[in-house]
Symmetry: C3
């Protein structure tokens, strides 16, 4: 039996990393993945401050040393001076995946006009897909609902583990085969 | 009482800057802001040719020396050889704000299929939000109707002045508080 | 009478270029253009492997030496390690045209959730518009249906030949004039 797929979950927040308040984004992602995935997986979690170099270093560690097939970040994607998660992500990816940010902004825009202020992006580093998510738990779930159906096939294409979802939660789509169910 | 918020309005046009025809884009933006904003503001206007370095210099001057919290440009965003406003904007911003261009193209696309030819972008330079608008007055208003609701909160986040809008014209949205009214 | 407009059609595929299977994307584009265009044109076709430098060289040759007003590529836009068509396109364009990729992903997304995995982009090199299309013939037609109405006017703006379409197939739009019919 294959070893479980590793998923990196990176909370980027000065205050959460300093213990000033509790990390809500990271646990929201763990909850989501627990419900969505039926194939074996394990979380590799980090809580780090809004520092471009430190974020980049963490993404590289989770991709290259830990071998995560997927890394999701939460926080640091707005326009404020300390928001540098997209820049750090850009620094470490080989290939941008512009469709993720476009779709996440589009679904958030149906809820709030300030969705256009989110600078979320995604990209590929080697065999790892990295996706920026927003900071608020409700917005995290909305964004994952939108992009998660495409993620297992994306990970197939970059030669990662075969992720299976619970079709009642996320209808993962793989072209050329019927949705799992 | 706070000094009025400065808004840079940059018309980029070889012909308007040479006096060959009247600038229509700049006055259309002034009219729009006059109707939309109820907090004190003043326009800092420029009319300049389609030259990448000159546009970049003007944006830097309005952001760094004049202290504008918002700069809007009009013109120079198409595919023609002289259209270089997005390149000049890219040259001076620290952070791209991809959601603005995506949304403006989307609303324009509901009107004309050539909306995809617009290369409008937006980004942050220090404490200044810079937004490219199209050249035609009608398209300017359509684009501002789409993005203006998010602009006051964006300027809050980059530590600029508190902009208040007339909710009958623009329903500015700030998360965590009810729309002003 | 003007010489026919040259349109570059570049199939990017390791297997098609090695003769392992037949190129389907290139002929699908030729068929589409044959139906869509009523003004004289000729195809300049290439089938090449998924190599970034070779793709870039081919795009330059078709733009600068062949004088194509439009180059469309098919294949190599996904997240897989060998998919480098967008990177090669980025290497040779002067100006990005982000609206093309955004719209193509949006129309494909109405069909399949994995449309966000497409990294298609477009841009201008001198007097040539370069547009990445997907690999599958059905997806090619969907994407061309979406972007083709804007292409003749784009080519006018970069001082290329006047392309006329069959309005029953593609309703080319030129601002300030009624659709041809």
């Amino acid at each position: 039996m294959a070893s479980p797929a590793k998923i990196g979950i990176v909370t980027v927040s000065d205050r959460a990393s300093a213990g000033i308040y509790a990390d809500e984004g990271g646990p929201a992602i763990v909850d989501y993945m627990t419900k969505a995935l039926v194939s074996p997986w394990e979380a590799v979690s980090r809580i780090i401050p809004d520092e471009r170099e430190g974020i980049a270093r963490t993404l590289i560690e989770l991709a290259d040393a830990e071998g995560c097939c997927l890394i999701v970040t939460t926080g640091g994607t707005g326009p404020a001076p300390r928001d540098v998660t997209p820049e750090a992500t850009e620094d470490v990816i080989d290939k941008p995946m512009p469709g993720f940010g476009e779709l996440m902004r589009q679904v958030s825009l149906a809820k709030v006009p300030t969705a256009i202020l989110s600078r979320q992006l995604a990209g590929i580093r080697g065999r790892t897909l990295i996706v920026n998510l927003p900071g608020r738990p409700r917005a995290i779930a909305e964004c994952l609902d939108a992009v998660m159906p495409a993620i297992p096939y994306c990970i197939d294409l970059i030669e990662g583990p075969y992720l299976e979802t619970d079709p009642a939660v996320v209808a993962a789509f793989r072209p050329g085969q019927k949705p799992k169910g």
